[in-house]
Protein backbone atom coordinates (compact mmCIF):
# COMPACT_ATOMS: atom_id res chain seq x y z
CA UNK A 1 0.00 0.00 0.00
CA UNK A 2 1.37 3.40 -0.94
CA UNK A 3 2.07 5.81 1.87
CA UNK A 4 -0.58 8.29 0.73
CA UNK A 5 -3.34 5.66 0.73
CA UNK A 6 -5.72 5.58 3.68
CA UNK A 7 -6.41 2.20 5.25
CA UNK A 8 -10.15 2.80 5.61
CA UNK A 9 -12.71 4.59 3.50
CA UNK A 10 -13.59 6.88 6.40
CA UNK A 11 -9.95 7.91 6.80
CA UNK A 12 -9.78 8.63 3.09
CA UNK A 13 -12.93 10.77 3.14
CA UNK A 14 -11.75 12.72 6.18
CA UNK A 15 -8.33 13.30 4.63
CA UNK A 16 -9.80 15.24 1.71
CA UNK A 17 -7.03 13.88 -0.51
CA UNK A 18 -7.68 13.65 -4.22
CA UNK A 19 -6.51 10.24 -5.38
CA UNK A 20 -6.99 9.09 -8.96
CA UNK A 21 -8.80 5.88 -9.80
CA UNK A 22 -6.15 3.17 -9.53
CA UNK A 23 -5.48 1.62 -12.95
CA UNK A 24 -6.70 -1.86 -13.78
CA UNK A 25 -4.00 -4.39 -14.67
CA UNK A 26 -4.85 -6.64 -17.65
CA UNK A 27 -5.23 -10.37 -17.19
CA UNK A 28 -4.53 -13.32 -19.48
CA UNK A 29 -7.50 -15.40 -20.62
CA UNK A 30 -7.63 -18.97 -21.86
CA UNK A 31 -9.58 -22.16 -22.35
CA UNK A 32 -8.61 -25.81 -22.39
CA UNK A 33 -10.26 -29.19 -22.19
CA UNK A 34 -11.25 -30.28 -18.70
CA UNK A 35 -8.85 -32.14 -16.46
CA UNK A 36 -6.38 -33.79 -18.84
CA UNK A 37 -5.07 -37.20 -17.85
CA UNK A 38 -1.54 -35.80 -17.70
CA UNK A 39 -0.48 -32.27 -16.78
CA UNK A 40 -0.27 -29.84 -19.67
CA UNK A 41 0.16 -26.14 -20.14
CA UNK A 42 -2.98 -24.09 -20.67
CA UNK A 43 -3.80 -23.46 -24.32
CA UNK A 44 -5.31 -20.67 -26.37
CA UNK A 45 -3.94 -17.77 -24.37
CA UNK A 46 -5.16 -14.28 -25.02
CA UNK A 47 -4.12 -11.01 -23.45
CA UNK A 48 -7.06 -8.91 -22.35
Amino acid sequence: MAEHESKTLIEHLKSGRKVELPPRKPGNFGTTESRPTKPSQPADKERG
Partner: protein, 153 residues
Protein backbone atom coordinates in the same frame (compact mmCIF):
# COMPACT_ATOMS: atom_id res chain seq x y z
CA UNK B 1 -28.72 -30.50 -15.15
CA UNK B 2 -29.30 -27.35 -17.16
CA UNK B 3 -27.78 -26.49 -20.51
CA UNK B 4 -24.75 -24.70 -19.04
CA UNK B 5 -23.38 -26.17 -15.82
CA UNK B 6 -20.48 -24.86 -13.79
CA UNK B 7 -18.89 -27.89 -12.14
CA UNK B 8 -16.48 -25.84 -10.07
CA UNK B 9 -14.55 -22.64 -9.59
CA UNK B 10 -11.26 -22.22 -7.79
CA UNK B 11 -8.17 -20.08 -7.47
CA UNK B 12 -4.91 -21.60 -8.68
CA UNK B 13 -1.32 -21.12 -9.69
CA UNK B 14 -1.47 -20.32 -13.44
CA UNK B 15 1.18 -23.01 -14.03
CA UNK B 16 -1.09 -25.67 -12.49
CA UNK B 17 -4.64 -24.59 -13.17
CA UNK B 18 -6.24 -27.94 -12.34
CA UNK B 19 -5.06 -27.86 -8.73
CA UNK B 20 -7.06 -25.54 -6.45
CA UNK B 21 -4.84 -23.27 -4.37
CA UNK B 22 -6.46 -21.46 -1.43
CA UNK B 23 -3.61 -19.25 -0.15
CA UNK B 24 -1.76 -16.51 -2.07
CA UNK B 25 1.01 -14.12 -1.14
CA UNK B 26 0.35 -10.86 -2.97
CA UNK B 27 3.47 -11.27 -5.12
CA UNK B 28 2.55 -14.77 -6.34
CA UNK B 29 0.97 -15.61 -9.72
CA UNK B 30 -2.80 -15.94 -9.51
CA UNK B 31 -5.53 -17.52 -11.61
CA UNK B 32 -9.26 -18.13 -11.34
CA UNK B 33 -10.55 -21.23 -13.11
CA UNK B 34 -14.15 -22.05 -14.06
CA UNK B 35 -14.94 -25.66 -14.99
CA UNK B 36 -17.85 -25.88 -17.41
CA UNK B 37 -20.10 -28.64 -18.72
CA UNK B 38 -22.39 -28.03 -21.69
CA UNK B 39 -25.41 -30.33 -21.62
CA UNK B 40 -26.62 -29.47 -25.10
CA UNK B 41 -27.15 -31.10 -28.46
CA UNK B 42 -26.17 -29.71 -31.84
CA UNK B 43 -27.21 -27.69 -33.70
CA UNK B 44 -29.21 -25.64 -31.24
CA UNK B 45 -26.35 -24.09 -29.32
CA UNK B 46 -23.91 -21.47 -30.50
CA UNK B 47 -20.21 -21.55 -29.70
CA UNK B 48 -20.27 -18.01 -28.35
CA UNK B 49 -19.96 -17.67 -24.60
CA UNK B 50 -19.13 -15.02 -22.04
CA UNK B 51 -17.18 -15.91 -18.91
CA UNK B 52 -17.29 -13.63 -15.87
CA UNK B 53 -14.92 -13.94 -12.94
CA UNK B 54 -15.91 -12.30 -9.67
CA UNK B 55 -13.54 -11.68 -6.77
CA UNK B 56 -15.36 -10.63 -3.63
CA UNK B 57 -14.93 -9.61 -0.04
CA UNK B 58 -17.55 -10.30 2.65
CA UNK B 59 -16.42 -7.31 4.71
CA UNK B 60 -18.05 -4.06 3.63
CA UNK B 61 -17.66 -1.40 6.33
CA UNK B 62 -16.17 2.07 5.83
CA UNK B 63 -14.81 2.11 9.40
CA UNK B 64 -12.69 -0.99 8.83
CA UNK B 65 -9.98 -1.77 6.31
CA UNK B 66 -12.58 -3.03 3.78
CA UNK B 67 -11.95 -2.80 0.05
CA UNK B 68 -12.75 0.60 -1.44
CA UNK B 69 -11.78 2.53 -4.50
CA UNK B 70 -11.63 6.12 -5.67
CA UNK B 71 -13.65 7.21 -8.66
CA UNK B 72 -12.83 9.93 -11.15
CA UNK B 73 -13.55 13.29 -9.59
CA UNK B 74 -12.28 12.17 -6.22
CA UNK B 75 -15.38 10.39 -4.93
CA UNK B 76 -14.69 7.21 -3.03
CA UNK B 77 -16.81 4.12 -2.61
CA UNK B 78 -16.72 0.76 -0.91
CA UNK B 79 -15.98 -1.82 -3.56
CA UNK B 80 -17.08 -5.34 -2.57
CA UNK B 81 -16.21 -7.03 -5.87
CA UNK B 82 -13.71 -6.99 -8.69
CA UNK B 83 -15.15 -8.32 -11.96
CA UNK B 84 -13.52 -9.47 -15.19
CA UNK B 85 -15.29 -10.83 -18.26
CA UNK B 86 -14.27 -12.35 -21.57
CA UNK B 87 -16.19 -13.21 -24.73
CA UNK B 88 -14.86 -16.42 -26.26
CA UNK B 89 -15.79 -19.32 -28.50
CA UNK B 90 -15.79 -22.97 -27.57
CA UNK B 91 -16.43 -25.42 -30.43
CA UNK B 92 -17.94 -28.21 -28.34
CA UNK B 93 -18.64 -30.30 -31.43
CA UNK B 94 -14.88 -30.68 -31.94
CA UNK B 95 -13.46 -30.11 -28.46
CA UNK B 96 -16.06 -31.70 -26.20
CA UNK B 97 -18.62 -30.45 -23.73
CA UNK B 98 -16.32 -30.20 -20.71
CA UNK B 99 -13.71 -27.47 -20.47
CA UNK B 100 -12.18 -24.89 -18.22
CA UNK B 101 -11.91 -21.17 -18.84
CA UNK B 102 -9.49 -19.14 -16.81
CA UNK B 103 -8.02 -15.72 -16.15
CA UNK B 104 -4.53 -15.28 -14.78
CA UNK B 105 -2.25 -12.54 -13.53
CA UNK B 106 1.51 -12.37 -13.03
CA UNK B 107 0.87 -11.37 -9.41
CA UNK B 108 -2.14 -11.57 -7.10
CA UNK B 109 -1.69 -7.85 -6.52
CA UNK B 110 -2.43 -7.22 -10.23
CA UNK B 111 -5.90 -8.76 -9.86
CA UNK B 112 -6.87 -6.22 -7.19
CA UNK B 113 -4.95 -3.25 -8.60
CA UNK B 114 -8.04 -1.02 -8.54
CA UNK B 115 -8.68 -1.73 -4.87
CA UNK B 116 -7.60 0.43 -1.94
CA UNK B 117 -7.99 -0.33 1.75
CA UNK B 118 -5.82 -1.88 4.40
CA UNK B 119 -6.90 -5.44 3.77
CA UNK B 120 -6.33 -5.31 0.01
CA UNK B 121 -3.74 -8.09 0.38
CA UNK B 122 -4.76 -9.41 3.77
CA UNK B 123 -7.86 -11.45 4.50
CA UNK B 124 -10.32 -14.11 3.46
CA UNK B 125 -11.97 -13.54 0.10
CA UNK B 126 -13.89 -15.56 -2.47
CA UNK B 127 -14.08 -16.11 -6.21
CA UNK B 128 -17.15 -16.97 -8.28
CA UNK B 129 -17.74 -17.60 -11.97
CA UNK B 130 -20.62 -17.32 -14.40
CA UNK B 131 -21.03 -18.46 -18.01
CA UNK B 132 -23.60 -17.04 -20.42
CA UNK B 133 -24.30 -18.20 -23.96
CA UNK B 134 -24.52 -15.32 -26.40
CA UNK B 135 -27.54 -15.75 -28.63
CA UNK B 136 -29.46 -18.06 -26.30
CA UNK B 137 -30.85 -17.71 -22.80
CA UNK B 138 -28.61 -20.36 -21.20
CA UNK B 139 -26.35 -19.56 -18.27
CA UNK B 140 -24.54 -21.16 -15.35
CA UNK B 141 -23.47 -19.80 -11.96
CA UNK B 142 -20.89 -21.18 -9.54
CA UNK B 143 -20.78 -21.39 -5.79
CA UNK B 144 -18.18 -19.39 -3.86
CA UNK B 145 -14.63 -20.66 -3.48
CA UNK B 146 -12.82 -19.09 -0.54
CA UNK B 147 -9.13 -18.22 -0.47
CA UNK B 148 -6.77 -16.30 1.75
CA UNK B 149 -4.53 -13.43 0.67
CA UNK B 150 -1.34 -12.65 2.57
CA UNK B 151 0.79 -9.51 2.17
CA UNK B 152 4.30 -10.03 0.83
CA UNK B 153 6.81 -9.40 3.59
Amino acid sequence: MSEVNILGVWSADPADIFTPKPVFVSSEPFAIVIEVNLDVDPPFFSNSLTATWIMGTPRIDPYTTSWYTVLDGGDASLMPTVVFDWDFSWDYRKRGKNFVVWISFDHYSDAVSQILGGEKFDGLFYVMGTIESRGEYYFGVSDKYWYRAIPAS
